[in-house]
Structure formats: structure tokens, C-alpha cells
Symmetry: C2
Subunit: 350 residues, 2 copies
Amino acid sequence: MRSEDIAKLAGVSRSTVSRVINNYPNVPEATRAKVLRVIEQHHYEPNSFARALAGKRTDTIGLFAISMTEKEDTSRIYQNSYFAPIVDMVVDTANARGFYVLIHTVYSPGDFQKVKQAFQQKRIDGGILVGTQKDIELVREMVDQEAPLVLVDYDIAEIMAERLNKNHLAVINSNDYEGTVQAIEYLIELGHREIGILKGSMNTFSGRERYLAYEHTLQKHNLPLPEAFVLEGEFLKESAYRETRKLIEQGTLPTALFCANDDMAFAAMEAFSESGVRVPEQLSVIGFDDVQLASRITPKLTTVRLPVDEMAKAAVLKVLELCETEQPTFSTVSFPTRLVIRDSCQPPTE
Amino acid sequence: MRSEDIAKLAGVSRSTVSRVINNYPNVPEATRAKVLRVIEQHHYEPNSFARALAGKRTDTIGLFAISMTEKEDTSRIYQNSYFAPIVDMVVDTANARGFYVLIHTVYSPGDFQKVKQAFQQKRIDGGILVGTQKDIELVREMVDQEAPLVLVDYDIAEIMAERLNKNHLAVINSNDYEGTVQAIEYLIELGHREIGILKGSMNTFSGRERYLAYEHTLQKHNLPLPEAFVLEGEFLKESAYRETRKLIEQGTLPTALFCANDDMAFAAMEAFSESGVRVPEQLSVIGFDDVQLASRITPKLTTVRLPVDEMAKAAVLKVLELCETEQPTFSTVSFPTRLVIRDSCQPPTE
DNA sequence: CTGAAAGCGCTTACAG
DNA sequence: CTGAAAGCGCTTACAG
């Protein structure tokens, strides 16, 4: 069933059918009604590709997550508890507004290609890009195509420096810096002086922010940076676990450990528990993100809450908005984070 | 940049460009090389919609999950720990094979419409449908369009009865019945005689299977069905929590509770813990699915492992296979489940 | 082996 | 207000 068929049945031309479908004003009510009736009777659905080819929207947005890890093919991206809720929320929000979502994750350069294609081939009206790494080049290419694009967890300064800010672009992130300051100062207030860190991926905006805030807060309170307690966790459970084991074997421990995300905090706690290091009695652990599991393990994890759901939702609303607007816009939203105190921290025992 | 441009630059016709792109045999190596060079130089990407319109594939598969709950808009589907890993695996597997995945979840009849459209409008080459409820009608419509379709967690008997089995169709599920029998017999061996159940949604194939197996196994061992301990949990945390509270308030408890999925087991454990009922000392709890959390809470949950990852992967491979094949096929795979014994069960105390 | 032409199903100036 | 026609960017018989 094509628009031609509808046209015949309704006794009008394809042009008119099209006008009705697209809700153009210059169609008399009677004609519109007649056409609509035929459309409904036959459950007619205009072919989306034909529409897209002729210049209409595809009613699809893209969601592209860039893997944290450098190695291809290893740990899948969603294993990271951070992405699952994003996917959830994005799909839900977009669906509720009549949009499909097209998903592709990026591990390898080949995958990058796929993301670009999704834009170039106009498979989507706009896209959301999560994760930052070395993809600024990709972002530029996207932006050059004037495709509506929302970046999540992206360094605004970098965007500005690249002068990408005069297009259909928006960036959404969270106050990771402030959240980390809160976490570290909480530990300091508890009396900790030797605070280690399990770092996130420094390829990532949030990874860098969380590390810098850690460093600066120690400085501000005249605490030395404990080199031996600065571990490279890369946001991944495996590395975090490995690094924590190394730390334990090496002998001396800090009295508290700030983990740049909850996944790493869980891994660290596992390692500690296996070695008989009791949390929080012997060592306090604090996380970041407040994923579901955080409040369900023992001890319940003290962590910094990141409003992922709101961020994801905002990202979708933003792309849709950008799809509507003619003029180039650039906007920025930063969501607040806050410390959630549970059971995994206590004053250091002397 | 369109195929026309490439043609000019390469000094051939669009036909030839198309033949090269589609890897047709009747193109001399020299010509092919020449065209390919131009394509690469200009990063040319054929417009996917135009290709699709002209009858080619879209290189996209659909993933449609049908919400367990009847009410619209309430708990989002992915909150169910069962779906997140499916989405993961499907996206990963499809991406690795060069396919995009288009996602839409179904809460309301309107959403069903969207799923149908995705097929009708040929947005996708094939689709995966998860969850069963009252969507047999939808399945029939899909099948009538001869679209490759893979059903996950679907009653084969129902398909056969509907005579849908002569098309590009496959169904993938798991031996929920056998898994449940194992679980219940394990409890019986431990000495339990009063075994309650938190039922899953009876709209669901797995929900029905798990319930039936429970009932049959009790019968087989000459145990009466303890009506008071048969709770309607619908696979959802909230209902499970509510029902468990009711059970507790009502006074008498079974000595063991079989929960048709882990999510409900967690909710029940929470309710018990709040009321001071100790698991497993006073009451054994057993789950189903073996989601991530199962091995991380205290006590670690004894549960039946469902190979979701393998199932999801198989589903993708199957759709892709169906997309390749000309002739109608119908096939069926059932994945094994197995009991994973951890800490949440023990013999009843007298 | 290869090009001209028709067709896929829509939209949108254009003319009336 | 409305239809005929061109165009979106590809593929594929068809003819040579």
C-alpha cells in the first residue's frame, strides 16, 4: 500500500495525500477527513525511507557509547554499570516521544566509521555521544555536517577551543569536580590524612575532573599527594582489582581510598575482603556514581550520587530540541552531584 | 557526494559504481579497483535509505522488549535486571557483524504500533521480540509480512497452534521447567515440606513454566500445594515486596520460598530482613536467573542460572541467518539452565 | 562487460 | 485549494 493507492481510493492526488500526512494547513477539512479515513481503513504507513530520501526526518536518534578501554573486544562496554541506565533512559524517553533509537557502541576505529555513517547516511535525525577519549576529531566531522549532536561527559573548554560551538551542539555533564571535593573533604573531616585514589580513565572528562579535584583538595588541606596510593584503575573492575591487590601486597595501606567510580570501589572491596582487610574498620572506601548495587552490598557504599537518569533524559530532550531548531545553537548543562553517606567510611583507627 | 559523482570521477556509469559497491562478480578487476579508489578518496558512503528503497537491506535489526506490566508508564522495563544484559549482548553481537540495532520498548498499544511500523516501513531487516503476553496477534502480523523474526521466551506450542511455523521464524528459550524442578527438588532434599512460591507473570512463557514445574514437583513428591504460600509477584520487585510483607503479617511462614526470578528474591529478602526474619536460618530463599547481584548480596543467593548472554547472542545470529535465507524456515533452540548453590538455603530448623 | 532507463515511495516547488 | 512533474539516491532488469 503506497500513497498512490491511498490517493486513488480517496479520489485525490499523491500530493494531497502527502499534504495530509504532513499536516499542511492548506487542505480543506473535508478533504483531510476523507483522506485520513482511507489511511486508517487500510492501516497505511508511509515508507520511512522514502520520506527520508525526500528530505523528511527519520524519527530516529542515535546513541553512541565510546568504550573506555583501548583494547578492542575485551570487556564489553555495558558491563560498566554506568551505561546500562543511560541506555534505559534514552530509549524510554525517546520512545515516549515517538522516536526510535539506533544504538552502536564504539570499540575500534571501524566502529567509529559506523557512527559517522549513521550521520552521513542520514539514518538518524541527531545523535548522542557518550564518552570522550580521542574522539574530538569525530565530533568535528559530525558537527561539520550540521547534524544535531549532544555530547555527554565532554570537556567544554575543548569544544570551545575547537570552535565547534557554533552549530547544533550541546554538552551535558555533571559537577564531578565539586562532588569529588565533597567526598575528599568528608574523609578529611573524619580524620583521614592518607587518602589513596583509584583513578578513572584519564581519556575521559569525568576521569580527569575527579582526579584533579582529588589532587587539589589534598593540596588545599596541606596534605601531601601519597604517590604510592595513586592507582590506575581506568574505571574498570579488572584493573581496579589488580591494582588493589598490588597495593595490598606492597604492605602499607592508606586509611581511606577514593574510587573514581563505584565499579572500582566494588572491585577494591572484594580485593580487601579476600585479604582480610576490613572495610570500613581498617580502611574506608568511597565511590562515585551511586549505581544500584552501591546501596545493596555490605557494607553499603558511601558514594557521590551522579544523576545519570536526569542527564540521559536531558540529553534526549536536547537532541530533539536541536532537531526542531533551524539556527545553530550551542548550550551546556551541568548537573549537580552530591555525597551520599552510608556505611563504608569511618574515622581512621589509631 | 552521490554515486553519480563517483561515477563521473571514475569515468564509468552509476550502474557500474553500484555493481562495485554490491560486490557483483561481473566487473573486471581493473574497473573495480579504479572505482574503489575514488570511493575511498572521497569517503563516499552510499545513502542507506536510497539503497533500502531500491530493495537492498538496511543492515539494521530491531530489538523489541515487551513490558511485563499491564500499566503503562510505571516501572520501566529495563529496571528488570533481565533486560539490561540482553540489550548489551544484542547490541554487541549485532555491531560486531556490521549491523545497527534499533530499539523500542513496548508498554502500550501505541508502542505495539511502532514495532509493527518498524517492520512495515522496512526500517529493519529483521527483529527480535522479547516477552510474550498477549502479543501473538502482533507476531502473526509480523510473520505475515515474511519478515525474519526471532522470538525469545515464547511458547512453541502456541506458535505451532497458530500455524506460524512456515516462515522466517525462530524461537529461543531456556529449560525453565527443568531448572525449576532442580530448584524445588533441592529444597525438598534439604528437608523442606512447606515451600512457597513468588510467581512470575503468567502472561509470560517462562512465568508459566516456572509455576507449572513448581506445582508438578510438589505433586510428584506428594506434597500438598500450600495455597497460602502461593504469592503473585509478577516478576516485579514492587509486587514481590508487597506480597512478602503481606505473607509476614499474616503470621505463618513456609520454610522455603522459591522466587520465579532473582529480582523478586531480592525484594523478598529485603522484606524478611526488615521484619527480622533471618535468611537462611529461619527461611530459605531460592531465585531464578542468576543476575549479577545474586552473587554479591548477603547471603549470596542460591538460584537457577539462565544463560541470558548466550540466548541473546543466539537470537542475533539467528535473525542474521534468517535474513540471508530465501526459503522459509522455522527453528527452535532451548538453552539449559542449572542450579547454582550459594548461601541462601539450608535445611529447615525444627 | 557496461550504460540508459525505469523504478523504489515519498515530498515539494510550480503552475493554475 | 490541488495536480503534474521533478527530484531524493540508489538498484536492476534490459539491451547491446
